[in-house]
């Protein structure tokens, strides 16, 4: 789950990271009032879950409450990479301006199985670009999960970045605060880009990004409250509530599969035979009628779908039971969209016979199923 900039920065601040004063506005009038309260010199920033807000015109400077209102007017309702801006953050400008921009983040290094601090004196830029073009400018330090960030580690990073020595103590406070925020909120990323040195010689986090490990949400009620569902496609929201893994894609062949690896593979093989998958969908184990019906409704809510490919491996749940579940689900969800069903595994032949009796298109192999689904979309045209 991703947080908005303002949510991330507030959490950083709770753990001791200095951030600018600011408030969220949902209207021009609110933006004007916040800017007036902050003394007029502000930055107005679109709050959407995507990068590249600046380039899209979603970040504007203002030097009076009126300018802030005008900026909010331009940004609110703006479309940034397909997302509509519903709120802006109005932040005071860094006191005395910005002397230097630094990148600082805590993330998980899967290969080393440790949290890792990543920093660079080349802040303010796209860090992936820095990593690719000038990898020597990126400093990485791993954190022992039982120890946390030690002072010498922050000093090492500060030294490598050439940070002025009088800021090293404050910098350690920021790295350890950012790590404690990461740990306390089960984050997969806490990122400050940029962390600036202000004209007054102080460190301040002017932008923030944070992603939370979805597996931890059960113990983070305050974070769950922060979820912004306005940006989530409706079908994905419904899938999440139903406990089904569903990701909408751009194609026209709806896919329903049990198991994530097999679901990805079904998409891959569909593509291999010239088709385009409309979604990733893992219905989990069992394929009971109710589950299949819910999944079908999700798939059919996408009007691009012209055919549906169902691929179920019956293991402990036998193929004949799966077939009965599919037929029962299709009685609940009436549709003209054509289907291809492939069952494999235990009692697959018995299951396929049941489906054939119900006059359903069936396939023995995944290749066969994908080819039939592709042919059905061509017939539909």
């Amino acid at each position: 789950m991703n947080l908005h900039e303002y949510q991330a920065k507030r959490l950083f601040a709770e753990h001791g990271v200095p951030i600018p004063n600011g408030e969220v506005a949902r209207s021009e009038e609110e933006a004007r009032q916040i800017a007036a309260d902050l003394g007029g010199h502000v930055v107005v920033k679109a709050q959407v879950h995507t990068g590249g807000r600046g380039k899209a015109g979603g970040v504007k400077l203002a030097h009076s409450p009126e300018e802030a209102a005008a900026a909010a007017h331009q940004i609110l309702g703006m479309d940034i990479k397909g997302l509509t801006v519903h709120q802006v953050l109005v932040d005071e400008l860094a006191p005395g301006g910005i002397d230097q921009e630094i990148y600082l983040a805590v993330l998980i290094d899967r290969a080393k199985r440790r949290p890792m601090i990543m920093a660079s004196a080349a802040g303010g830029m796209d860090i992936e670009q820095v990593a690719e073009e000038t990898p020597e400018k990126i400093i990485k330090v791993h954190v022992d999960p039982f120890l946390g960030v030690k002072g010498y580690q922050s000093n090492y990073i500060a030294g490598k970045m050439g940070l002025p020595r009088e800021l090293w103590r404050d910098f350690h406070k920021i790295t350890s605060s950012l790590y404690s925020c990461f740990k306390a909120n089960d984050a997969s990323l806490t990122e400050i880009n940029p962390l600036v040195i202000t004209g007054e010689g102080k460190l301040m986090a002017v932008d923030g990004k944070m992603s939370i490990d979805d597996n931890s949400l059960f113990r983070l009620p305050a974070i769950v409250e922060m979820r912004d569902t306005s940006e989530e496609p409706e079908a994905e929201q419904k899938a999440r509530e139903a406990g089904i893994n569903f990701i909408k894609l751009d194609g026209n062949i709806g896919c329903m599969v049990n198991g994530a690896g097999l679901a990805m593979t079904t998409m891959d093989v569909t593509k291999l035979f010239g088709g385009a998958p409309a979604n990733f969908l893992d219905i989990g184990g069992g394929a009971k009628a109710e589950q299949v019906a819910t999944a079908l409704r999700l798939i059919l809510s996408d009007e691009n779908v012209e055919a549906v490919l169902i691929n179920i491996f019956g293991g402990i749940t036998r193929g004949d039971e799966v077939a009965k579940g599919i037929i029962a689900a299709l009685e609940q969800v009436k549709t003209d969209i054509p289907f291809v069903v492939r069952l494999a595994g235990t009692n697959a032949a018995e299951g396929m016979a049941i489906l054939a009796d119900a006059e359903m298109e069936t396939a023995v192999t995944l290749s066969d199923a994908a080819q039939k689904a592709v042919a059905l979309t061509k017939e539909a045209k």
């Binding site: 998980i108 899967r110 290969a111 199985r113 440790r114 949290p115 992936e128 690719e132 022992d144 999960p145 039982f146 740990k183 089960d186 997969s188 490990d213 979805d214 597996n215 931890s216 059960f218 113990r219 893994n245 990701i247 894609l249 599969v257 049990n258 198991g259 994530a260 690896g261 097999l262 679901a263 990805m264 593979t265 998409m267 891959d268 093989v269 569909t270 593509k271 291999l272 998958p277 990733f280 893992d282 491996f313 293991g315 402990i316 494999a344 595994g345 235990t346 192999t365 995944l366 290749s367």
Partner: protein
């Protein structure tokens, strides 16, 4: 021969009285797994019955190990209790911990893995289907009906995709030494290289099938390892060529992050190491048959 589990496996199941736990324990017992104990805190003294056998239930894994000599632990409890059970199994001194539970927080796993490494205890999973040695023992979800004893070692991040491959091998008359699901979480225990080492050392394993998916770099590491250290033929498949970047494809670890973790990168690394990678999973069993001269 086989790897990790066989007739001598003495299994203790954490979560034996739960809905999933009791169902799968019964399945394992029917298959012939020697389930010696169950654990559910607060239900010590009860008896679990399945397949005409009785299994004692204990409050703790330590008691189960003391009383029954269990050497392998399987964990099938809800995510919020699973990490505690991993630590408990490690402290009870089993040789192998198999954690099937999905949705364990990543930071919890980082701590648990560091703890297990310090103790030198092997974990399989979490979020994995477990493993199966045909005709001897199964620990986890893999359906016994699709496997048969034979010369191929199977290792995979996936569940049902692996069952497909095992099923296809069996239909061609090619049996398996052991089938191992390492799971699809970003931080787990046993990885591809660990299992490849075991298959390389197992005299009965003549061929290895490795099934990977997008995310992380375990497949790239495995490719480099195979090139240097594995003398047996390996046939591979990678799922997720059509996965969009930045989205988790069901498994918590199956995500393309920036430019890392793509199917293309993994397939290239494997092919560079001389490992055939099937474009279509329907071809895997056939490629294995051809390479085995069948």
């Amino acid at each position: 021969m086989s790897i990790l589990i066989d007739k001598n496996t003495r299994l203790v199941v954490s979560g034996i009285t739960g809905r999933e736990g009791s169902f799968h324990t019964a399945q394992m017992m029917e298959y012939g797994t020697n389930v010696v104990a169950g654990v559910t805190p607060g239900k010590g003294g009860q008896v679990f019955e399945a397949d005409g056998q009785e299994v004692p239930v204990f409050d703790t894994i330590a008691e189960a190990v003391d009383e029954t000599g269990a050497n392998t632990s399987m964990i099938i409890v809800p995510a919020r209790f699973a990490v505690d059970a991993i630590y408990e199994a490690a402290d009870a001194g089993v040789d192998l911990i198999v954690c099937l539970t999905e949705y364990i927080p990543v930071m919890d796993m980082i701590g648990a893995r560091a703890y297990l490494d310090a103790k030198g205890i092997r974990l399989l999973g979490p979020n994995c289907p477990g493993l199966l040695t045909p005709g001897q023992s199964k620990v986890g979800f893999i359906p016994g009906s699709i496997a048969m004893p034979g010369p191929v070692g199977v290792v995979s991040k996936s569940g049902t995709l692996t069952y497909e491959v095992i099923d296809a091998l069996t239909r061609l008359g090619i049996g398996q030494t052991t089938c191992v699901g390492i799971g699809g979480d970003p931080i787990n225990g046993t990885d591809f290289i660990d299992v490849l080492k075991l298959f390389e050392a197992d005299p009965d394993t003549k061929h290895i099938v490795m099934i990977g998916e997008i995310g992380g770099n375990l497949e790239e590491q495995a490719a480099a390892f195979i090139k240097e250290h594995v003398s047996k033929p390996v046939t591979s498949f990678i799922a997720g060529r059509t996965a969009p970047p930045g989205r988790r494809m069901g498994h918590a670890g199956a995500i393309i992050e920036g430019k890392s973790g793509t199917a293309e990168g993994k397939i290239a690394a494997l092919r560079d190491a001389g490992i055939p990678v099937a474009d279509n999973p329907d071809d895997i069993a056939r490629i294995v048959a051809e390479r085995m001269g069948m």
